[in-house]
């Protein structure tokens, strides 16, 4: 019985993660074909051993080689990493003060503030991104407001630029940054700041020497929680971004649905996964260290 219970999560991972991954890996080694499904070879186990060998010889790495030959792909990877890194930094700069203010607010307010941070999750993510299209468009709410107040005389072009992508990412992922930092700051004993002040720190140096180091684990966790999903982000760049926005998630989608080139799309996905493994492992390590510190 106990073994069965332990086996459930492993079976879950096997069925929903490992098996799909192996299928994607297999497709990435195949060639594109005008067929259903649109790739070859496929396994036909009724033909026996010979056909399985023929199937194996049909697999090759030429899609991966292709990824290195066309500079679109590595540029898209790099651009994704860059957009993920810089939007993570912006999210941190925006999210930290919010988390700090929440942690310093009176006790009776905190639950409400926390609620307000989580509330957007109750609406569909897609609808919220469409709402941003309405706000950022040429005749959108933002431009109308700025024109009305007289700050600008010509409408700004924000939608379909990288700026819109950054706005969308920071907006969407802000709660993932705020929550772990808030958790770290909320646990912090206020008397530590008083002790630092008592020992000669100004407010600013107490912040740098005590508050920041003690919220370090929250900062790291928040950064990974934003960085990792943003690398593969597809909806935000395709709805808010323009032709100049190069992100690997978008390339993947286009490869899959526009070109119907499943093998190349699968190869892109496999490489994306390999890239993501590094930050995921670092994130897990940080979480483990934080747990050990608590004990």
């Amino acid at each position: 019985m106990r073994r069965l219970l332990i086996a459930i999560p492993y079976l879950w991972l096997l069925a929903l993660f490992l098996v799909p991954f192996l299928i994607v890996l297999k497709i990435s080694l195949s060639d594109t074909a005008l067929a259903i499904p649109p790739y070859t070879p496929t396994i036909d186990l009724s033909e026996g051993w010979a056909s399985f060998r023929a199937f194996l010889t049909g697999l090759d790495f030429e899609n991966f080689v292709w990824l290195t030959e066309d500079d679109l792909y590595w540029k898209a990877y790099l651009s994704s990493l860059w957009i993920a890194a810089s939007s993570t930094a912006i999210t941190l700069v925006v999210g930290y003060p919010i988390a700090y203010a929440m942690a310093r607010s009176p006790d009776e307010w905190r639950a409400t503030l926390l609620m307000l941070v989580i509330l957007p999750f109750w609406t569909s993510f897609l609808i919220r991104v469409y709402a941003w299209m309405g706000i950022l468009a040429q005749e959108g709410l933002l431009n109308q407001l700025l024109l009305w107040t007289g700050i600008i005389s010509e409408p700004l072009t924000i939608l379909n630029t990288n700026t819109a992508v950054y706005i969308g990412i920071v907006y969407t992922y802000l709660p993932f940054m705020i929550l772990p930092i808030y958790a770290a700051l909320e646990r912090m004993d206020d008397s530590l700041i008083e002790a630092a002040t008592d020992l000669g720190c100004s407010r600013m140096s107490a912040f740098w020497l005590v508050t920041i180091p003690l919220s370090k684990n929250g900062i790291i966790a928040g950064c990974f929680l934003v960085f990792i999903p943003v690398i593969g982000e597809f909806v935000i760049p395709s709805l808010l971004g323009g032709s100049g926005t190069l992100m690997i998630g978008k390339v993947l989608w286009e490869e899959f649905f526009n070109n119907r080139d499943w093998p190349v799309a699968s190869a892109v996905a496999v490489i994306l996964l390999l890239i993501l493994i590094v930050p995921i492992i670092l994130f897990q390590r940080n979480e483990q260290r934080a747990r050990e510190m608590d004990e």
């Binding site: 008083e194 002790a195 002040t197 008592d198 020992l199 020497l209 510190m293």
Partner: protein, 430 residues
């Protein structure tokens, strides 16, 4: 500390206090935490603020540290007004109740934290940290993080950190609250030793009267934002100035009643009838007592004959003898150590349990009452007898357990006599 003859700057009119609170009031909204408080604390004192939680003692300390500003009044430290000095610029360090050790820094770095903020050079800091580690016997733990050491060690790190900058004044906020009893007692003596070696002025906040009595040169008993009494521990115990202080410190029996003057003032050399009842003591020593306390000065002389009287002028007019009517049908309590002018006034007679003798036969004492033992609290070294008098009043009397418990003279429901001398208690006006 009990022998205060060598060190008592508070009774020297020329001494300049290190800390001076003048008419300090602190309000939090509607709540008055500190109410028009004036107090002087002298250099090298070990000063204890004692009171129940919410009495304002912590607020008082936080104002000294600079974490709270007084609503009105002035606080001076070493002659300088502290009103515009932020906490990080005061020559004051604090040891926090939670210790507030920085969890991300090692013991060494915690102790060095304040020194680094002063911009001292590395060699000086290293030497000073070593000195502090040695003082607090933490040499072996310098490289550990706070979560890797025990509670007692953390407490010493907190002390070392607050002493590292050699502050003029060290504030200790319930410093021993988190330690178990045995460790607490050891640490109290350690604290006193460190206070003496470093010569720093210590102000300690505590709700533990035993702790205050043990460590302090003077104790301030606080109640609802006001100071009830400031005195040396022995005088706080022997000469409380109010029923509040008497009741807060240790155990005490209170007899509210009316004072009635019994005897004319005695001639300085003679034996007044009141004094004749207490044959044991020289009148001069006893008479000095009435000057000491501010209100209804009394000098308690225990049933054990131990005198807590300071040396005073030898010949003083003897105060009136009093009888206190405290219950209908009961003999009045005879007192010979009250001040003049209490005749007819409402007073409270207060007496400590250990100053009441318990015996089987009527004792040869000016105050003797018969009662029934209704409860015995056995505390190991002493036993407290709860004796119910015919009036219904329950009196606690404490005796040392010099014999084994099986050989105890009295047990539940025994009829016993309790008695005390005419100078064993104090007469309180409020």
């Amino acid at each position: 500390m009990v022998n205060a003859a060598e060190f008592e700057p508070w009774s020297d009119p020329d001494a300049v206090p290190l800390i001076r609170f003048q008419n300090v009031t602190k309000r939090f909204g509607e709540f008055t935490a500190i109410d028009d408080l004036t107090i002087d604390i002298y250099e090298q004192e070990f000063f204890a603020l004692l009171g129940p939680s919410g009495c304002g003692k912590t607020t008082l300390m936080r104002m000294l540290a600079g974490f709270e500003a007084p609503t009105s009044g002035t606080i001076t430290l070493g002659g300088e007004d502290m009103a515009n000095r932020p906490a990080n610029k005061r020559p004051v360090n604090m040891m926090f109740q939670s210790y507030a050790l920085f969890p991300h820094l090692t013991v060494r770095d915690n102790i060095a934290f304040g020194l680094k903020r002063e911009g001292r050079d590395a060699a000086f800091i290293a030497a000073r940290v070593d000195e502090m580690l040695k003082l607090t016997r933490l040499e072996r733990f310098g490289a550990r993080k706070p979560h890797q050491i025990s509670g007692g060690q953390r407490q010493r790190v907190a002390l070392a950190r607050s002493l590292a900058k050699a502050p003029k004044l060290l504030l200790l906020d319930e410093p021993l609250g988190a330690l178990d009893k045995k460790l607490r007692q050891d640490t109290q003596f350690e604290l006193m030793e460190i206070q003496e070696t470093t010569g720093t002025t210590f102000v300690i906040v505590t709700h533990d009267q035993e702790e205050a009595m043990t460590v302090a040169s003077r104790v301030a008993v606080m109640n609802e934002g006001r100071i009830e009494q400031v005195d040396t521990p022995d005088r706080i115990y022997e000469l409380p100035n109010s029923t509040y202080v008497a009741d807060f410190i240790g155990e005490i029996n209170l007899f509210p009643g009316t004072a009635r003057r019994t005897d004319p003032p005695a001639p300085p050399d003679g034996t007044a009838p009141a004094a004749a009842k207490s044959e044991s003591q020289p009148p001069a020593n006893e008479a000095a007592g009435w000057l000491v306390s501010r209100l209804s000065p009394i000098f308690g002389e225990g049933a054990d004959g131990k005198s807590g009287a300071p040396d005073g002028p030898a010949l003083l007019p003897r105060p009136d003898g009093l009888e206190i009517d405290w219950a209908e049908g009961a003999d009045p309590i005879v007192v010979s150590n009250a001040t003049e002018g209490l005749d007819g006034g409402a007073v409270t007679f207060a007496i400590r349990p250990e100053k009441i003798a318990v015996s089987a036969d009527r004792p040869d004492l000016p105050n003797a009452f018969q009662g029934k033992v209704i409860d015995i609290a056995y505390l190991g070294n002493v036993s407290t007898y709860h004796v119910e008098l015919p009036t219904g009043q329950i009196v606690k009397a404490q005796t040392a357990n010099t014999r084994r418990i099986s050989a105890r003279a009295f047990t539940w429901d025994d009829t016993v006599w309790i008695g005390w001398t005419d100078t064993a208690g104090v007469v309180l006006l409020r």
